[in-house]
Subunit: 175 residues, 2 copies
Amino acid sequence: MAAAVEEFGERGYEGATIRSIAERAGVDSALVHHYFGTKADLFAEAAGMPLRPDVAVPAILAGPRDEVGARVVRFVLESFERDEVRRRGVMLLRAAVGGKLGAPVLVGFLSRELLSRIAAHLDVADGELRASLAASQIGGLLMTRYVLRLGVLADAPIDELVARIGPTVQRYLFE
Amino acid sequence: MAAAVEEFGERGYEGATIRSIAERAGVDSALVHHYFGTKADLFAEAAGMPLRPDVAVPAILAGPRDEVGARVVRFVLESFERDEVRRRGVMLLRAAVGGKLGAPVLVGFLSRELLSRIAAHLDVADGELRASLAASQIGGLLMTRYVLRLGVLADAPIDELVARIGPTVQRYLFE
């Protein structure tokens, strides 16, 4: 894990490989795969990610296309209502934006494992922009509700936010 | 200015007054008004705010209702394209979210001087929630485009982003 943190920090998400991490740790890369899974799994554990948007969102996209936006918003909000997820999520958001943690590494992970996958699913010329726009709204929601705790938005019921923000994400992705 | 920073830090935006700041500085409050304007003006200067959403957005809202969303998005993006605004804006966003600066003070300012004014203009029961939702999208846009520099969103032309995000802000505010 220490080797992973160092490799991601030095080479970025794209540049680091399971092989290079294994070499740094002085073990076989099969062993790293066996204990930690894919590079995305290893990164998520090293970064202390409390949930896996790279796993959950493609699963949501694979479901019925109607209300994908609402289902994404509900997934994120219901996850963040759990104390442990919220605590670690807020920490990660603060670190990424505050510049303490390597924001570029997290951005590299999100681009490669989340936005590119959404774009591939959408299969349109502007798929990556669509995915980024959805990310900007979800990120802004998490920042204002859980990090800044902005007034009424911090206390609004999940159903209300799903009804208001779901159509935005749906439009960014599909319309 | 030092007295203002201390007062805002200790009492928050709502709690601090021009009078209490003047007292701390050992001057008459009329003098503070004369040199620094309103409490909002003083705060904006103390916090190093590179633009004044509390002045600009109500002005935009006072214009034709059609495309208010597009005009807000364009105002924010065109402002942030200016080097000095972007540099100071990114610094302020990092500090607010990273927790270095008192995020609650900035949130107090935004709630009182921006969101409440938008809500008063909208004059509907859920006006404050509508204003906060718009803020979540604008904030998320600034974070992803200028702080995290998320892929294609960082390089998209302003017109393209106005066309995609303007309708979101319009819908949150009016529909």
